[in-house]
């Protein structure tokens, strides 16, 4: 890209939504044939519901939240693997939401966002050597070949701490940590501006995880990339991220500088989340919050009711009539709760 760096945030997500139609095949068929009766709309699952946030250049943003709350869906929307139902995804000023996911692989913007997946073994082609895997996106997106390409692959191996002699190996001949390095080398190969990591260290043991996290931090410093980092390990998010977004059932319920959110969570869900971090020392478990109640359904949720209502220790009748919106709470923080 030769144009000057656009001012403003690198990534600007506005009112982004993804709804999936759910329900059985039979009912779809029944609906299609029952043309005489008025047709009720099919149930919609609100996976990502009107989410807005930004990521600055060089910023690392953590995305945390309950299993099934929409993190991976959000990430797949941003990475343009999935088409949004509505909303906007602007990357350095360019609107990406209008491009079809189906054609995005050939889009000039493709190289600007890259992704590192949870399980390096699942995302690496078993018939590609480490060198092939790293070279593939460069060949496709940067049209590089021959000795230049080989030199670039070696440089990337060095940058990610992958011994060059392993470049000729296939995934099954590599350890989990080595595969993670290949996945990262491959993702940074085309010099993306935004690197999305969906639980990149979940499959690694603690010892390897330390090395990979240190590598990510070093690469960020050297290359100035922005990260969107999805993780269930809150200790890791705390150590790696500048800012954190907390999602609950399709909505962002809290966001702010990671250190502040962890030290002083404001949303009742964030409080419960942080208080559930496993602790070896029993003294550190005192005052722990345990969520009771039933989680609300993500299918056709009532737009008036707070998504956390029913499990929230604070919940009042107002929460069932008036959905709290994300609003400022302090300098750089936002929270969606009537009582925070």
């Amino acid at each position: 890209m030769t144009e000057a760096v656009a001012p403003g945030p690198l990534l600007d997500i506005a009112e982004l939504a993804k709804r999936f139609t759910v329900g059985s095949k039979q009912s779809l068929l029944a609906r299609a044939t029952s043309f005489r009766k008025p047709v009720a709309p099919l149930p919609q699952l609100y996976a990502v519901d009107e989410v807005s946030f930004t990521i600055g250049r060089g910023e690392t943003v953590g995305l945390v939240g309950e299993s099934g709350c929409g993190k991976s869906t959000l990430v797949r929307l941003i990475n343009r693997l999935l088409d949004p139902t509505s909303g906007s995804i602007r990357l350095g000023g360019a609107e990406l939401a209008d491009f079809k996911a189906r054609n995005f692989a050939a889009n000039p913007h493709r190289a600007r966002i890259q992704m590192v997946f949870q399980d390096a073994s699942d995302s690496l082609n078993p018939r590609y050597t480490a060198a092939d895997a790293i070279a593939d996106p460069i060949r496709r997106l940067k049209k590089m070949s021959g000795p230049d390409l080989a030199a670039r692959v070696e440089k990337l191996a060095d940058m990610t701490g992958l011994p060059r002699e392993l470049l000729s190996r296939f995934p099954h001949q590599l350890s989990g940590g080595q595969k993670a390095r290949v996945g990262i080398a491959r993702a940074i190969a085309v010099e993306p501006e935004l690197l999305i990591l969906d639980e990149p260290t979940a499959a690694l043991d603690v010892s390897v995880q330390v090395v990979i996290l240190q590598l990510l931090q070093q690469l960020k410093r050297e290359l100035g990339m922005s990260y969107l980092f999805v993780s269930h390990d809150l200790n890791v998010v705390r150590l790696l991220c500048d800012r954190v977004l907390v999602m609950y059932l399709g909505k962002v319920v809290e966001q702010g500088p990671a250190a502040e959110v962890f030290a002083d969570p404001k949303h009742p869900y964030t409080k419960a989340l942080i208080s559930a971090i496993p602790q070896a020392e029993p003294e550190q478990r005192v005052g722990r919050l345990r969520l009771g109640g039933e989680p609300r359904s993500p299918i056709d949720p009532d737009p008036r009711v707070c998504r956390f209502y029913g499990r929230c220790p604070k919940g009042t009748p107002r929460c069932a009539e008036d959905m709290p919106l994300l609003r400022p709470a302090g300098l750089a923080r936002q929270v969606a709760c009537h009582f925070a």
Partner: protein, 327 residues
């Protein structure tokens, strides 16, 4: 099942278990003299780096080792019988009813073209004594227990319609549906957030308390193991190097490897730079001349003595280590 079973009755006792794999490049001695027991109602964590033999231990006990794998010594006593000596048929019977396993990779273990509610119901009918009529209700009950929102409707979902963590919880629901006497859970909560993880751990705890279920809980999260498990067994390169109640291990890990493992756990550290990975890697288990202590190549406390067969030392109540120069 109303009476609470007395504690300290070993439900499973693994004695001197050794396993080898034949590979193209030679025989790999993956487990050597592995000994541990799990009492009724007890949850024992198995921790260690990847490749240390945690999953192979689980597979051997379940009798589902890969064809290339062979048990070369040992027994696994469960309910008066040696699981390693049972016939394929008897083992298959027990596996469904009394032994249950949660596998490391949930998506591949689920049937992609069957609704998840049906998959749970199938197990309840086959092994849980449920009828075709009441199984769907019971399946929804299980979905509720693993905190799947809107269980009635989500029972109709196919695995691809669920998130990674939801698939994982479906696997957990399947494994727990028949209230097994022994549960082997291979990293069951890695894809789950901490609040959902807490729900799952409480559910396992409930079955342990009510029905005396014994659990082998494989994880690489040491804080999780310490909080929810009664004891932690630390494995390294196919050996058990230390076993202790979780608190004791955290307060005073005696084996040099356990100490390094703890230092690599994020916990309360304030910066990534402070954290240290464990130097070196696992030894090549194909070597004919593997040292007596398989950690000695990476160990900062090694003595000449460490080349001698390892001593088993008891250093506290239920706290044992295999090391010549412990901390």
């Amino acid at each position: 099942m109303t009476a609470v079973p007395a504690l300290s009755v070993p439900a499973l006792s693994v004695e001197d278990l050794s396993v080898e794999f034949r590979t193209r490049s030679g025989v790999v001695k993956v487990l050597e003299h592995v000994c541990f027991s799990v009492d009724k109602g007890e949850t024992v964590a198995l921790v260690g780096e990847s490749g240390s033999g945690k999953s192979v231990t689980a597979f051997a006990v379940m009798g589902i080792l890969d064809a290339a794998g062979k048990v070369t010594s040992g027994r696994a006593m469960f309910g008066g019988a040696d699981l390693l000596a049972l016939s394929e048929h008897d083992l298959a019977e027990q596996r469904g009813r009394e032994l249950s396993m949660i596998f490391q990779n949930p998506r591949t273990a689920l049937n992609p073209i069957r609704r998840v509610g049906r998959q749970i119901a199938d197990v309840l009918v086959r092994h849980g004594g449920a009828t075709r009529n009441d199984a769907p209700r019971a399946a929804i009950e299980m979905l509720k227990k693993v905190r799947i929102p809107d269980p009635e409707r989500r029972a109709e979902a196919y695995p691809f319609e669920l998130s990674g963590g939801m698939c994982q919880r479906i696997m957990i629901a399947i494994a727990l549906a028949c209230r097994p006497a022994l549960l082997i859970a291979d990293e069951p909560t890695t894809g789950l957030d901490v609040t959902t993880q807490a729900v799952i751990m409480d559910l396992i705890g409930e079955l342990a308390g009510e029905a005396g279920m014994a659990t082998i809980f494989i994880t690489h999260d040491l804080a999780l193991a310490a909080e929810y498990c009664d004891r932690i067994v630390v494995m390294h390169a196919g050996h058990i190097v230390e076993a202790a109640p979780g608190r004791d291990l955290f307060a005073y890990a005696r084996h040099p490897y356990s100490a390094k493992l703890l230092a690599a756990t994020p916990g309360e550290t304030v910066s990534l730079e402070q954290m240290a990975s464990i130097p070196g890697g696992l030894p090549d288990l194909r070597r004919a001349d593997l040292p007596a202590c398989r950690y000695s190549g990476r160990c900062e406390r090694r003595l000449d003595q460490c080349a001698q067969p390892l001593p088993q030392r008891t250093v506290g109540e239920r706290h044992v280590i295999a090391c010549w120069n412990p901390l």
